[in-house]
């Protein structure tokens, strides 16, 4: 089908999207799990503040977090300048910046999913592990973490999906540079802004959807496995 003969530029956008979305998962994973756990299990000063900050990207139009990232991490930004000058790292206008933008946007989803899952872990099991001589750290890794696996997987798939669809923050923070930051959504947006670009946009939409389906399918398999390990019925059929 002609509809599916993609130009090199489109394939580049596809590959870039995959790269960014995978790194977005990686980037949200550890902080997401940590913050989710913290919010589920600990009381500390500034908890509400932390929770609010994590959720902000969800609440604001994506342009705003994008703009804030620019102020913070742009080459002239407070942190970005330092990163650039001391470490030689540039995030603005690079694919790394795109990863950061989508990670920030995905973080609330990841954190909420993990938090929900951790809350539902029976804290009696953690206590049991401790009576068997496991330190808090070990309990976290050997009990809490595996038992919240379904939540972590949900969080990661949401992060991946969000990254695939992230547009506003990305274009605001790193712009639309072909081959560097033009992910699928940016490419799709470009086509929708051109009269008669609908067909091309549709091609890319199909591509996006296929990618998302593959990710969804993979996550389903992982989740079923995790659930089976937990002895949950939903893991069986």
């Amino acid at each position: 089908m002609e509809l599916l003969q993609f130009t090199p530029a489109e394939l580049a956008a596809l590959l870039l999207s995959i790269k960014v979305a995978l790194w977005c998962m990686v980037a949200t994973c550890i902080p997401g799990i940590f913050i989710g756990w913290l919010l589920a299990r600990k009381s500390f000063f500034g908890k509400s503040l932390l929770e609010s900050i994590v959720h902000l990207p969800l609440v604001l139009p994506p342009v705003v977090p994008g703009y804030l990232l620019l102020i913070l991490l742009g080459n002239q930004g407070i942190l970005g300048k330092w990163l650039h000058q001391s470490l030689g790292i540039t995030v603005a206008f690079t694919w790394v910046g795109a990863v950061i933008a989508s990670a920030v946007m995905a973080m609330p989803l990841m954190v909420r999913a993990v938090r929900l899952a951790v809350i539902q872990v029976d804290s009696g099991l953690e206590a049991a592990a401790r009576t068997l001589g496991a330190s808090s750290l070990r309990v976290f890794f050997s009990v809490t973490l595996p038992l919240s696996a379904p939540g972590i997987i949900t969080g990661l798939i949401l992060a991946f999906s969000r990254s695939l669809g992230e547009f506003g923050a990305t274009i605001t923070f790193v712009g639309n540079i072909e081959g560097e930051t033009r992910t699928l959504p940016l490419a799709i947006y470009t086509y929708t802004q051109t009269p008669g670009g609908d067909v091309q946009a549709l091609r890319l939409v199909i591509l996006s959807v296929a990618l998302a389906l593959a990710a969804l399918f993979a996550s389903e398999l992982m989740e079923r496995r995790a659930l089976r390990l937990l002895g949950n019925k939903a893991g069986r059929d």
Binding site: V63, Y67, L70, I71, G74, N75, Q76, G77, A92, F93, G168, I171, T172, G175, N176, I177, Y189, T190, Y191, T192, Q193, T194, P195, G196, G197
Partner: protein, 237 residues
Amino acid sequence: SSPAHAEQKVTVYAAASLTNAIGDIAAQYEKAKGVKVVSSFAASSALAKQIENGAPADVFISADSKWMNYLQDKNKLDKASRHDLLGNHLVLIAPKGQSFKVEMDKSFDFAKAFDGKLCTGDLESVPAGIYAKQSLTALGWWNAIKSRIVGTQDVRASLAFVERGECAAGIVYQTDAKVSSKSDTVAAFPDTSHDPIVYPVAAVAGSQDTAKDFIEYLASPEASAIFSRYGFSLAGH
């Protein structure tokens, strides 16, 4: 058409860059004529597609001819009422105090004139970006500079990039450059280097009589004063 059972009103769909100007004119118009003005500001593409799908618009003001043509091709406009309302100019800007020398000439080595990125609207979808590409091509600078161009969602974002020093240069409308206190205008592109920058206006097919009245009012001295205040020039002036 049937003022008997409804308060008279006119619905104006205008490109987002006209938000302030149309807002002020609408307020005056309401006071003068007792007709309520309802406005919707978004990207020209979005507005055009909404009108195509039956949005209750009476008047459409686009930021370029393309989307006006798009609707005209679909017979959604009152062709007779269409005319170019406003004009604008394309300028090169730099962050405040970081101006550099440029000659609008084919022999000038534009790529060497500054270090860093050049921001403008997305080259394929945002009108300013499209004009910018035309100019850069006409001046023979395109190949040397194209890898350093950052496309943005709209001109405002380009301006922000430049104002923050993220981009060493930007190509934006004169109207934007004029009101920006954090950037310097380096030079204006020759109007001949790109298609004429015009904001066409037209009444939507099947609109109420008030639409034509409002379009007429846009040409009035009161309206012109407001447009000038925001840096627009009337088309053909």
